[in-house]
Amino acid sequence: MRREAPQKLSDYGPLFFPAMMLIVFFVVPFATMIAVSFFQRQQGGFYVPAFQFANYERFLSLFFANVLGFSLMLAVTVAICCVVLAVPFTYLLTRMKRKVQIAWLVALLSVLSLSEVIIGFAWSTLFSRTAGITNLLVMAGIMSEAKALLPSFGAVLTGMVYQAFPYTVLVLYPALVRLDPTLTEAARTLGASPIKAFFTVVVPALRNTITATLIMVFIFALGSYLLPQLLGRPQHWTLSVLITDQAIYQSNMPFAAAMAVFLVLVTLGLVALTVLAGRKGETA
C-alpha cells in the first residue's frame, strides 16, 4: 500500500506522542549524561558545569582499555553461548506439542521474574564448596572432594547465560514457529540427515533473526554489573561495574558519565559493523 507523503503539520499528529515519549525518557536523560561527562567534579561529592575533556582523558589508559576489552569479550561470549544453546532448544521446542510448549514458556518466563541479585546468590550457592553442585559429583563418585567453583570466569559466564537465556528463547520463538516445517522435510527427502538439514536449512533461513538476537543479548549482557561482582574476581569486573562504582561509591558523576558515553559509542559502532557485515553477506 502506498500512502501520500504528509502535507500539513497536522499530518504529523500521530508521531507526536511517541516523539514526546522518546524526548522525555530518552533524549533528555541521555543529553544530560553527555553534558555531565564534560563537567568538572567538585571534591566532596558534586560537580559544576564546565567544558573539559579531563574525564575522557583519564579514561584513555591501559587499565580502562583492558576493562573495556574484557566487558566486550564477556558480552560477546554470553551472546554466542546463549544463541548456540537457544537456537536448537527453541527449534526442538517449536516441534513439540502445544501443551509442552506452553509449560516450557511459562518456566522460562518465571526465570525472567527473578532479579539479578537472586540469580547471583543462587548461583554463588550452587558453585560454593560447602553446598554446591560439586558435592553431588562427589556423591556420584566423579570427583574425589568438593571444591568451590567461584569466583571464576566460568561462574560469571554461567550466571549471565542463565539470566539471558529466557530472553534469547523468547526472541527466537516467533521466528522459529513461523518457519515452514516442510523446509526441513524437503531437505531430508533431498538427502540431508536431520542434523545436516538443521545446519543447511534452518540456521541459514534464520540468519537475520539470529544476528538480531546476537545483538540483543550482547547489549543485554553489556549492562550486567551485579553478576560479575557476585561470581567473579576483580579482573572479571566489567565496565558497568566500574561505572556503578564511580557513580555511586566514588560520587564521581562526570567520570561515570564519560565512561557510559564511551561504552554507548563503542556498542553502537559494533552493532553497526554487524549489521553492515550481515548486509554484505546477503548480497554476496
Binding site: 522435510e185 527427502t189 533431498l190 538427502g191 541459514p204
Partner: protein, 345 residues
C-alpha cells in the same frame, strides 16, 4: 522385482486408522496418481513411501529391498511438496544444487547438472535469481528440477499443482507427464483432481477411508469402475438402481429393460452409465420413459436432464448430435448393455 511394492501397509494415529492394509505394486518407470477425497489417507501413504512417517504395520520395498525403516535421507528420493518448500535463503541454482551439495558432488559437476536441469525446465539463465522473484509456475518448475537433480529412484509429488491457476495447471500436467516419460522415472503423485490423474497417470489409485478402492489404468477406471464410489468420484455418472427377477428379467427404476443382465444370482445392483453414453430417443420401444426437465446448452456440449420416476438422469451430447427435445417433453432413454456397468450393491 524392480519398482516399488507396498505390502499390507497400515498407519494408525491412536485409534484412527489413516491407511489400512494397503497392497500396491508400482513397476519401474510407471506414473501412478493417488486420488481421493481429502482425509482418504493418500498423503499419509506418500509420506510413508518417503519415510517422513513410519507405518505401524506392513512393509515397503523398493527394487526388492525392504526400505520400511530406512531413514528418508538415505532413500534417494525426489519429492515435491504442496508448499514447494523451496529454500528461501538460496538462489534458484543453489536450490537445485542442494541435493548434490549435500552428497559432496564437486562444484563443477554441480554447475553442469544445474545448467542441464534449468534447460530442461526452460529456465536457463535463472540460476542466480532469488526464488522469491519467481512466478508460481517458475517456482513449481524449480521444485521439480531440485527433486530430480540426483536422478532419484522415486519421484514423489504431493498435490504439486494445487497452487497454480487452472490454465497453468493444465499445461504443467502435460509437461510433467512428458518429462516423466522422457526420464522413465517411477513417479507417484497425490492429487484430489481427477482430471489431473486422468491426464498424467499410467495407473490411477482411487482411495477412500484409508483403503484402495481401485487401482487400474485411467480408462479402465472410467469405463469399468469397481464400485459406486469410484464410478461417482471419477467423472460424473448416472447411478440407477436395478432389480432382477427369478427369470433374469431386469427392471430399472421400476421399468423393464431388455438386453441388460445383472449376472447370475444377483437380485439387486446399481447400474452406472456415463452421461455421454445415454441415448435419448422417442418414447416407447423398450426404452425407459421420462420427462425432460432442463437443457443446459454450454456451446461445446449439451446436457439434457431427464426425470425418470423421480430420479434425475443426465445425458451429454455434442452440438452435432443435439437431441431434438424441449423442456417438459416425454422422452425415451436407451440403456445400451455394453456401456452399462453393473455394480454390486
Amino acid at each position: 522385482m524392480s519398482g516399488l511394492a507396498l505390502n499390507n501397509v497400515t498407519k494408525e494415529f491412536g485409534t484412527f486408522t489413516a491407511v489400512n492394509n494397503v497392497e500396491l505394486t508400482v513397476p519401474h518407470g510407471t506414473f501412478v496418481c493417488m486420488l481421493g477425497p481429502s482425509g482418504c489417507g493418500k498423503t499419509t501413504l506418500l509420506r510413508m513411501i518417503a519415510g517422513l512417517d513410519l507405518p505401524t504395520g506392513g512393509a515397503i520395498r523398493l527394487d526388492g529391498e525392504d526400505i520400511t525403516h530406512v531413514p528418508t535421507h538415505k532413500r534417494n528420493l525426489g519429492m515435491v511438496f504442496q508448499s514447494l518448500a523451496l529454500f528461501p535463503h538460496l538462489t534458484v541454482g543453489e536450490n537445485i544444487a542442494y541435493p548434490l551439495r549435500i552428497r559432496g558432488v564437486p562444484k563443477e559437476d554441480q554447475k553442469k547438472r544445474v545448467d542441464e536441469l534449468l534447460l530442461m525446465i526452460h529456465l536457463s539463465g535463472y540460476a542466480d535469481r532469488p526464488v522469491a522473484k519467481l512466478s508460481g509456475g517458475q517456482r513449481q518448475r524449480v521444485a521439480i528440477a531440485r527433486a530430480l537433480s540426483i536422478s532419484p529412484k522415486l519421484f514423489l509429488l504431493d498435490e504439486p499443482l494445487s497452487a497454480l491457476d487452472a490454465k497453468l495447471r493444465e499445461a504443467m500436467q502435460v509437461e510433467l507427464r512428458q518429462l516423466q516419460q522422457k526420464l522413465g522415472i517411477t513417479t507417484i503423485v497425490v492429487t484430489h483432481d481427477q482430471r489431473e490423474a486422468m491426464t498424467m497417470a499410467d495407473t490411477v489409485v482411487v482411495m477412500k477411508g484409508g483403503e484402495i478402492r481401485q487401482a487400474a489404468s485411467p480408462i479402465e477406471i472410467y469405463r469399468r469402475p469397481a464400485d459406486t464410489f469410484v464410478a461417482d468420484f471419477i467423472g460424473s455418472t448416472n447411478l440407477l438402481e436395478a432389480e432382477a427377477d427369478s427369470t433374469g428379467g431386469v427392471t430399472v427404476l421400476g421399468q423393464p429393460v431388455s438386453g441388460v443382465s445383472l449376472g447370475g444370482g444377483v437380485r439387486k445392483a446399481t447400474l452406472s452409465i456415463r452421461p455421454e453414453d445415454v441415448h435419448l430417443t422417442a418414447p416407447g420401444n423398450g426404452a425407459l420413459s421420462g420427462t425432460v426437465t432442463f437443457v443446459r446448452d454450454l456451446g461445446g456440449t449439451i446436457e439434457t436432464f431427464v426425470d425418470i420416476a423421480g430420479r434425475q438422469l443426465v445425458a451429454v451430447s455434442t452440438p452435432r448430435a443435439r437431441p431434438d427435445v424441449t423442456v417438459g417433453q416425454p422422452v425415451g432413454v436407451v440403456l445400451l448393455p455394453d456401456v452399462c456397468v453393473v455394480l454390486a450393491k
